[in-house]
Amino acid sequence: MPKYTLNINKTSYDVEVAAGTSLLWVLREDLGLTGAKYGCGIGQCGACTVHVDKQPIKACLLPIEQFTAGQEITTIEGLSEHGDHPVQKAWIEAQAPQCGYCHSGQIMQAVALLEQKEHPTRDEIKAHMNGNLCRCGTYLRILTAIEMAAKTKNPTS
């Protein structure tokens, strides 16, 4: 089987998997980075969202051979050392998750928004988060958490 080198959470990983294996399966089943979740496999739910060079992507859609060692992949495990990224703190403050399964993806998607835009409007947040499904119905708390994080991360003078 072919070998691949990936740069994930600032660590270099060598993996040997069949060509065509999705980044999601490699993260979860080969590397044990199980924070990104499988929900649909067709990019419809966003539970597998991770960052590649700070851009949110759906890890279920992209095969391993499309990634290079030069690309910086970040998963929820690498977002902060102690689970204390401002978005994660806001998530706890808002008591956002219920079952929690989709929330790694929700958080990664939200972090990417706040990297691009310091103070997104509510409509911009909704549009940006529209690809991430939550069956427990925690959307309103996700909105609250993102607005709280925007305030603490990028306080206005």
Binding site: A18, W91, Q95, A96, N130, G137
Partner: protein
């Protein structure tokens, strides 16, 4: 840290004693509090102890840290916090020192109140967890406190009656002495009799320190840093993967046509024949899923062959028209007489299509069967069940104690994980490949196509009024497959109507069905609440006033109505183009929901702007968490009411994934969902399924007010809304 005792040590230092009620309790060793559980059969406790070195509701360390065990599944409803809070409240524990873990899956020891009096059950269904464990956890916590007080009394040689406890300390006010729970660990002495603690011996609710406060949920930090473990995350050395192809025709039998081709695929290890599926085992997840796609299968016909879900309603109408009773659910007064003497009779049919659970974690499990096939270790997200070993002992032909279930967080349950089909499948495959551990994964396509849906149904409602427009009779005929799955929620316990009749007329299509959040309440409350507004509309009455009259004998229901009216400013005019609608629901807890909607008359899209809920759920353990349940219940309700639909053509399920089974998304949420609680000191009632059934009725009633037209077929998709508008 806990003393490093060997298992032998622990067993030798255990003791048993009888409570005043004659129930056996297991008493632990140093570092371990008594197992504060009751079990009529001490053999069962001893068996359990052989396997699990320490089994208890609580473990206490000398540094004061403690673990409280949660016996219920955690699927987002907050059991990992609410049940331990009840325990810690009565124990007078310092919550900052509490950690929570799942208890072993042993109903004799950890069960809550079962369906029948005196029975025990570990089954996280029906929104009954807090209700069924409330007294169990209070009593166990009070007993833990008693053991600590008793130890301190012996240590200080003072009467136990002179002691009190607070914040993980025992206090002797007379002498001013104080000792922490942790310091008592090496001194633990066992009382000769442990009180049973009846309701009146427990804390007065006015003294509660934890219950009713907004305490953050214990498992949320793990759910925001990626470490919360779901069964699908479990990885074991040498683990292999399983998948099944179950087809799209429920109940069809497969014949595999290309066995040798499949076995030649890289990594494929086994093909396993099921009655309804072809199972595969391979060394990688990609390998098993790739091989599954290559399967060539000839499917037999099944009961559902020839069944078209969207064409069945005309048959249902014919069944409704028959002059022949089905199974009577309720009969009060004489509906026939009400119909004969009615000033006016209202009749309407309501329909609902199938809906699917769509929990975001697809079904899965990990099982390792021992080489001799005698024992199994199981990792699963399950809502548990009457059989806490989830059918695995039957697969292996071994006694239940040989199966060890490690409950994991559930990536959504909603009723689907109260079935054990996926666990049994995993056990069959794991047995084939023992002793290798096996992870079974359902793809989303598997999860949709071989779902177990909330049944399709038709409901024919008739209501009679007298010359003053007062309701005299209410008749409700449900036609559909699934017994209580369709017939639940037809009763009107809070409406004072002299003549009432409800019945279920059975159909059968061979489609897999299961409890789906709120079960029959979803479609049935929709029908009931809609017909009430139809009457109010025709009688030119305020729908609130109509309900006020009906609720005259139920002050609790009326209080929720009045509160919701106040919250929503019902009497104030809505913004142009918007209208409000109301619906009342009882499902353990009772509540009134009011929504405000607007309508895009070109596209047929309904927009929900606000939802207000007034809820009477008895004592509220975790207020913020109950609000979260209301929010989630409304969102899931909106999703099902506005969008979701499984359709069957010639027996074949037509949907396969989230591109053709749409769920509500972020851009469709209301601006706000507000919840208010009616203060109560009564026993807590379930809150997980009260909000969802409010949605359909409230939206349909707002739509009626806005347009004068009736939405009577779920879901209210834009094409259906346009058809009604233009009809």
């Amino acid at each position: 840290m806990a003393k490093d005792l060997t298992i032998t040590n622990k067993i030798n230092r255990r003791a048993f004693l009888k409570t005043s009620g004659g129930v056996t309790l297991f008493i632990g060793a140093s570092g371990v509090l008594p197992v504060l559980v009751s079990c009529q059969d001490d053999k069962k406790i001893r068996e359990q102890l052989k396997k699990v070195p320490v089994t208890a509701w609580v473990q206490l360390w000398e540094d004061g840290q403690m673990i409280i065990y949660n016996p219920a599944a955690e699927m987002g409803q907050g059991s990992m916090t609410s049940l331990p809070i009840i325990f810690a409240e009565e124990m007078d524990a310092d919550w900052s020192k509490v950690q929570v873990e799942f208890s072993p899956q042993e109903a004799d020891i950890y069960g809550g109140e079962g369906w029948a009096p005196g029975t025990k059950l570990m089954f996280t269904v029906g929104s009954r967890t807090t209700h069924s464990y409330y007294h169990v956890m209070r009593k166990a916590g009070a007993q833990a406190r008693y053991v600590l007080l008793n130890t301190a009394a012996n240590h200080w040689k003072v009467p136990i009656e002179e002691l009190s406890a607070a914040q993980s300390f025992v206090l002797h006010e007379k002498s001013g002495q104080k000792i922490s729970f942790g310091e008592l660990v090496p001194l633990l002495t066992m009382p000769t009799v442990l009180p049973d603690f009846t309701e009146d011996q427990l804390k007065n609710p006015k003294d509660f320190q934890l219950i009713g406060k907004n305490i953050p949920r214990t498992e949320i930090p793990a759910k925001v840093n990626g470490t919360a473990q779901f069964a699908i995350d479990v990885r074991l050395p040498d683990m292999v993967y399983g998948a099944l192809e179950r087809g799209k025709l429920h109940g069809a039998r497969p014949t595999l046509l290309n066995e040798s081709e499949i076995l030649a695929q890289a990594g494929v290890m086994r093909i396993v024949q099921f009655d309804y599926a072809i199972g595969l085992i391979a060394s990688t997840l990609k390998g098993v899923l790739d091989a599954k796609k290559l399967l060539k299968i000839d499917w037999s016909t099944a009961t559902s062959s020839g069944y078209h879900s969207q064409e069945i309603y005309s048959q249902y109408e014919a069944i409704a028209a028959k002059n022949q009773k089905g199974r009577v659910v309720t009969e009060i007064g004489n509906m026939g007489e009400a119909l004969r003497s009615a000033h006016k009779t209202y009749t309407a049919d309501f329909k609902n299509d199938y809906v699917y659970h769509a929990q975001i974690e697809p079904l899965n499990a990990v099982i390792q069967v021992s080489k001799d096939l005698q024992t199994a270790e199981v990792w699963v997200g399950s809502q548990q069940g009457g059989d806490t070993k989830l059918g695995i002992p039957g697969v292996l032909g071994v006694p239940p104690e040989n199966v060890n279930v490690h409950l994991q967080y559930l990536g959504g349950g909603f009723g689907r994980r109260s079935m054990t089909d996926f666990v049994v499948e995993c056990a069959v495959l794991a047995k084939e490949i023992a002793p290798l551990p096996l992870k079974l994964v359902w793809t989303r396509e598997d999860d949709v196509a071989y779902g177990a849906y909330r049944p399709l149904s038709l409901q024919r409602l008739k209501a009679t009024v007298d010359a003053n427009g007062q309701l005299t009779g209410f008749s409700h005929t449900v036609i559909g497959d699934g017994g209580n799955l369709v017939a639940g929620g037809v009763k009107n316990d809070h409406y004072d109507i002299p003549h009432q009749f409800a019945e279920w007329r059975e159909t059968n299509h061979g489609i897999r069905l299961k409890h789906w959040r709120s079960v029959g309440h979803g479609p049935n409350k929709f029908a009931i609440e809609s017909l009430l507004d139809t009457i109010a509309f025709d009688q030119r009455m305020d729908p609130i006033n109509l309900r006020r009259t009906l609720m005259a004998q139920s002050p609790k229901a009326l209080a929720t109505l009045e509160k919701a009216v106040a919250m929503s400013h019902w009497d104030a005019p809505s913004i142009e183009g918007r209208a409000k609608g109301v619906a009342f629901v009882d499902h353990g807890s009772i509540g009134t929901g009011i929504c405000e909607i607007s309508l895009d008359r070109n596209s047929g899209a309904i927009k929900v702007h606000h939802f207000w809920i007034a809820l009477d759920a008895g004592m509220i353990i975790q207020p913020n968490n109950v609000k979260a349940q209301m929010e989630g219940g409304i969102i899931m309700g909106m999703s099902s009411v506005l969008k979701e639909q499984i359709t069957i053509v010639d027996g074949q399920v037509q949907q396969s994934n989230f591109h053709d089974y749409s769920l509500l998304r972020m851009q469709e949420v209301p601006d706000s969902i507000e919840t208010a609680f009616i203060p109560s000191s009564e026993k807590p009632e379930g809150v997980g399924e009260t909000a969802t059934p409010m949605v359909a009725g409230a939206i349909a009633n707002a739509f009626l007010k806005l347009t004068g037209k009736h939405l009577r077929h779920l879901p209210f998709t834009p094409d259906r809304v346009l058809a009604v508008l233009n009809g």
